[in-house]
């Protein structure tokens, strides 16, 4: 089959049929989009999870909005989001830059570094529960008095414990993302800076950071939106306690729906969760700007 160059130009290349996307679309519509609509609908009903669903208008919303526990859950969520970001972002960035360099023992280190990625949140939470025990854990083991605390029973300390455990589990993932970003920076930039006599700190500030702009946005988005999904870790570690001190929004939603059997109020909380998540994701994308095709070539 010979073709002249004149009709090589896109011979009936209309691309494939969009129907190839249909199976994925159907799955996603049924188990994600319909439930999205469903959670909005259910927030205007009263349902105990068993009996009939009854339309109630704004009753559930009134309950949720006037309940001080809701405000507290929002506050706890914001605190965990903020602190876990403040802790994770710099550590992940530094580790990403460090592990992207060429140390001899990198392969061995990498296995250990990324080990927490493999553990389920339930496993991590159970391990830390034992580790933080004031009688049989790390503190008495290392004989360091300041580490012997009732970490999970003290409502002033527990939030920081939760943030630490979150960082322990998720820093490796973000380190990976930064590592990938750093490896995409053209070496020529550093060579040029080297010739200009820029030191390591200057190179980091003037090349590495600006070049990592989109990596930072990606990682931060995942971090912030992800913190709305910290459910299992906190559920197993503290159950939301002591008191309400670690009961963040997803956990509050679960307890309201499946423990207090108020599915209507829980759905309203779910809607709030979705709105916050969507708002944050859009905000972060907006901050990052739309133009993702900045030349990565010369011109730092």
């Amino acid at each position: 089959m010979t073709i002249t160059s004149s009709n090589r130009r896109r011979v009936r290349d209309t691309g494939p049929s969009g129907w190839l996307a249909a199976p994925a679309l159907v799955f996603f519509l049924v188990f994600a989009v319909v439930p999205l609509a469903g959670v909005v609908f259910l927030s205007f009903t009263s349902w105990d999870g068993l009996r009939e669903i009854r339309l109630e208008g704004l009753a559930s919303w009134t309950t949720v909005v006037t309940d001080p526990v809701t405000g507290n859950a929002l506050l706890v969520t914001a605190k965990i989001m903020f602190f876990s970001f403040i802790v994770q972002a710099p550590i992940s960035l530094m580790l990403g830059v460090f592990t992207a360099g060429g140390q001899k023992y990198r392969a061995a280190l990498a296995v250990l570094y990324f080990l927490p990625l493999l553990l389920s949140s339930a496993a991590v939470a159970i391990a830390f529960k034992a580790l933080l025990d004031p009688n049989f854990g790390l503190g008495p083991g290392l004989q360091v008095p300041i580490l012997i605390q009732d970490w999970l029973g003290n409502s002033d300390l527990v939030l920081f414990v939760v943030v630490f455990v979150i960082a322990w589990q998720f820093v490796p993932f973000h380190t990976l993302i930064y590592q990938g970003g750093v490896r995409q920076i053209p070496a020529s930039l550093y060579e040029a800076a080297e010739i200009d006599g820029a030191g390591r700190v200057r190179q980091f500030l003037n090349i590495t950071l600006p070049q990592l702009k989109y990596t930072i946005i990606t990682s931060s988005t995942l971090m912030v939106v992800g913190s709305l999904a910290y459910f299992d870790l906190i559920f197993v570690l503290t159950g939301g306690g002591p008191g309400y001190s670690t009961r963040l929004l997803p956990l509050h939603m679960y307890l309201t729906g499946f423990k207090a059997n108020d599915m209507g109020a829980a759905s309203a909380l779910g809607v709030i969760l979705i709105v916050i998540g969507l708002g944050l994701a859009l905000l972060l994308q907006r901050l990052g700007g739309k133009n993702r095709n900045d030349s990565q070539l010369e011109g730092a």
């Binding site: 994925a24 994600a32 439930p35 060429g102 496993a123 790390l138 322990w168 010739i195 999904a229």
Partner: protein, 300 residues
């Protein structure tokens, strides 16, 4: 800011458009050890290793030894009794359930996501771009907030407390990130290849499996591993959609085991180690794939 000094080296070849082949930024001409980076790296390594070390040595202690010896010292007489106890408690069944749910989710979700990614990258028209936008939206929404309508749907479909109840929503939730990463890779396949196959009279279906799949195989494997990790460690769906031991998966079994054996911390930690072992093996076998793919998916 490149200086105009004449270099003894050959001028750089014009950089290729940023595509799959990554410039390796092994920083040339720099052999000074990065002290602060190294120090931070080792420090974080200690933070990661200490809890893991504690979990492993404690799981090898008997209860008397656990109460008597320093928590951070290895047992004088290591014992595997705890592991035996965990294995006798139906561990094999939970493991099998996890395998079924993971494979039952990953294989179908890869299949439908791959077709969708192909349609999105190669296809034209409003339907395809609309579908893509919907999936992107799915990335920004904390989908777990829809758990209550999903619970309702699953109970109405008489699937409550079956493994299928976990598989179906998990497939849907895996689709957005799978399509994103797969389509990122698919864009790197040169258009000419598709066009020449098209001219040879190939159908889309043939192109999908004979060209797109071989060309994006690493991405497919990566996405598969990534999703497998998430499903394997998932906790919320099993917690809400199953209840009997017959449908229990590993992360949930850790939690229930902890409830039953709360005083026997060594046994609880042995269950944590056992649940992690299969993933550790997988990770050691396919680490490169997992890591390169994750970063390529997120830092483009």
């Amino acid at each position: 800011m490149a200086s105009t000094t004449q270099l003894p080296t050959a001028p750089e070849a014009p950089a290729l458009p940023q595509a799959a082949p990554r410039p390796n930024s092994r920083r040339a001409g720099r052999r000074r050890p990065n002290l602060p980076g190294g120090l931070g790296g080792w420090l974080w390594l200690a933070v990661i290793v200490l809890p893991i070390y504690y979990v492993v040595i404690t799981s090898l202690k008997n209860q008397a030894g656990f109460f008597a010896t320093n928590p951070m010292l290895p047992p004088a007489e290591p014992t595997l009794d705890n592991y035996k106890l965990v294995l006798e408690n139906d561990f094999a069944r939970y493991f099998l359930n996890s395998v079924v749910v993971t494979l039952g989710t990953v294989i179908p979700s890869l299949f439908v996501s791959f077709m969708a990614a192909y349609a999105i990258v190669r296809g034209k028209g409003r339907f395809v771009s609309w579908t893509n936008n919907l999936f992107l939206l799915g990335l920004a929404i904390p989908l777990h907030a829809t758990i209550i309508p999903i619970y309702w749907m699953i109970t109405r479909a008489h699937l409550y407390d079956t493994l299928l109840a976990l598989i179906l929503p998990s497939i849907a939730f895996a689709i957005p990130v799978s399509v994103l990463i797969l389509s990122n890779f698919m864009r790197d396949v040169p258009n000419e290849l598709f066009e020449s196959m098209r001219l040879d009279g190939c159908s889309d279906w043939a192109m999908l499996w004979r060209l797109a799949l071989p060309m994006t195989k690493p991405a497919v494997i990566t996405v598969g591993i990534y999703n497998a990790l998430h499903v394997w460690n998932g906790f919320l769906f099993p917690l809400i959609l199953t209840q009997s031991p017959g449908t229990r998966v590993l992360p949930l079994s850790l939690w229930t085991f902890q409830g039953e054996f709360s005083v026997n911390i060594p046994a609880v930690l042995a269950s944590v180690v056992l649940a992690t072992l299969p993933l550790l093996v997988l990770y050691i076998v396919a680490r490169r794939q997992l890591i390169s793919g994750l970063t390529a998916g997120f830092s483009k």
